[in-house]
């Protein structure tokens, strides 16, 4: 029981670490929160709403995302898209990620 909980916590931490990169990489075209959540899930990354929505707001505050409200099907939706600043940062983050993967591969092989 304790082992299962520990594993869950570690997996959660690992996922949390990659959500920023995952979200930025998928926001080349505008997405609203729920559509991004589903897009990430379809690609295999299950993210909790309680984690994703506050993260999107934080990334917007940091200037890495931009958002705009649109009225669709009589329902207002907030669309997020990567900003110019985010676009500049994304390749560097990808490079950093590749480095981490390479190092961890070496460690775990």
């Amino acid at each position: 029981m304790a082992n299962t909980e520990s594993l869950e916590n570690v997996v959660l931490e690992l996922r949390r670490g990659v959500i920023v990169l995952a979200a930025l990489s998928q926001l080349g075209s505008p997405e609203y929160g729920y559509s991004l959540l589903k897009k990430l899930a379809d690609l295999g990354l299950e993210v909790d709403q309680g984690t994703l929505y506050p993260l999107l707001r934080r990334l917007e505050t940091q200037g890495l995302l931009e958002s705009v409200w649109k009225l669709e099907e009589a329902r207002p939706r907030r669309y997020y898209v990567i900003s110019a600043e985010g676009k500049k940062l994304l390749p560097k983050m990808k490079k950093e990620w590749a480095g981490i993967v390479s190092v961890m591969d070496k460690m775990l092989s």
Partner: protein, 336 residues
């Protein structure tokens, strides 16, 4: 108002202090409506209340959802808390010292005063100190809470520009270090002693109730008060010494010498009090007036009081000698 609206409103109640609350509420509503629509499509029937209930239960308790939007849930966060504690200590020390001196001045200026007046003045003084400290704490907490809320981290950084130096870590307390409360207490009590012995000596006595009226039997005789000018010098020296300790925060050769000198002077006065005529003001006759009729009891009481007073003065001399030995020892072992 449907269930989703009620849920969103409940989350909003927990977001009162979070910027962009309306935006968060609108986004949450939009997400929940999307989720509900998807569930209805999957179930092949229109969304109903049971479906909404299930979805909201899965989404989580409103206060927990609100928590995820509040990255800084502190009234006073770790960024400014050390500064808050630093200012609080200074303010509380200043308020306590200021009001203690004010109470002392009040006692001196109200001479002569009765024991009840004295107790009442001290009691009011203590209450003033407690309430002033609580008010100072509240006001300071309010100011820091506002800073926490309205000064963004980027505009209010505590020492973040400076490079941290490991040498700034606190050293272990040295044997010569002075705890700040010790000289403060010594100053306060010496000040009170000076006030009472010089301006309200009639308060020093044995109090007894006769019928409904309180009476006081003076405790100390003329033989004691003859030495008061020298005692005042010793007390003033004690205040000066503690003031120096408060300022420097540690014992130095100079303060140790002053302490030894003061203690020697106190021993001289105490020795004079022991060897001279009785410093007790009451006599067998005054005890009888006080209500003790049995002559044998009066004699025993007089004997016990005389011996007891000499014992107390002897203990005081012993204490001063121990302090002198300690000071000499520390002077000899003090790091140069």
């Amino acid at each position: 108002m449907n269930l989703i609206d009620r849920y969103v409103a409940e989350v909003g109640k927990h977001l009162l202090l979070v910027k962009g609350r309306k935006d968060i509420e609108n986004e949450l509503r939009s997400t929940l409506e999307d989720m509900l629509e998807e569930r209805a499509q999957a179930a092949g029937k229109p969304a109903d209340e049971t479906m909404q209930m299930e979805m909201l239960k899965e989404y989580g308790e409103p206060h927990k959802v609100a928590e995820t939007y509040n990255p800084n849930p502190y009234l006073i966060g770790p960024r400014i808390f050390p500064f808050f504690m630093f200012i609080l200590k200074i303010v509380v020390a200043a308020v306590t010292l200021g009001l203690t001196i004010a109470t002392g001045i009040q006692i001196m200026s109200a001479s002569p005063m009765t024991a009840i007046d004295l107790l009442s003045t001290i009691g009011k003084g203590l209450l003033n100190i407690v309430s002033a400290c609580i008010a100072a704490f509240g006001n300071l907490a309010l100011v820091f809470a506002l800073i926490e809320r309205y000064a963004p981290a980027s505009e209010f950084k505590m020492d973040e520009g400076k490079e941290w130096d490991p040498a700034s870590l606190k050293k272990e307390p040295e044997p010569d270090d002075v705890k700040i409360w010790e000289p403060m207490l010594a100053i306060v009590f010496t000040f009170i002693a000076l006030s009472i012995f010089n301006f309200n000596p009639q308060l020093i006595g044995i109090y007894y109730l006769d019928g409904n009226e309180w009476h006081v039997l003076p405790l100390l005789s003329e033989a004691f008060f003859r030495w008061l000018p020298l005692m005042n010098i010793a007390w003033v020296a004690e205040i000066v010494l503690n003031g120096m300790l408060l300022r420097s925060g540690k014992w130095t050769a100079g303060t140790r010498l002053l302490s030894i000198g003061t203690k020697l002077f106190q021993i001289f006065i105490l020795a004079m009090l022991i060897s001279g005529p009785s410093i007790l003001a009451f006599t067998p006759a005054s005890l009888t007036t006080g209500g003790i009729d049995d002559p044998e009891a009066v004699n025993i009481l007089m004997l016990l009081a005389g011996k007891g007073m000499k014992f107390i003065l002897g203990i005081a001399i012993f204490g001063s000698v121990v302090e002198i030995i300690k000071s000499v020892y520390k002077m000899m072992t003090q790091k140069l």
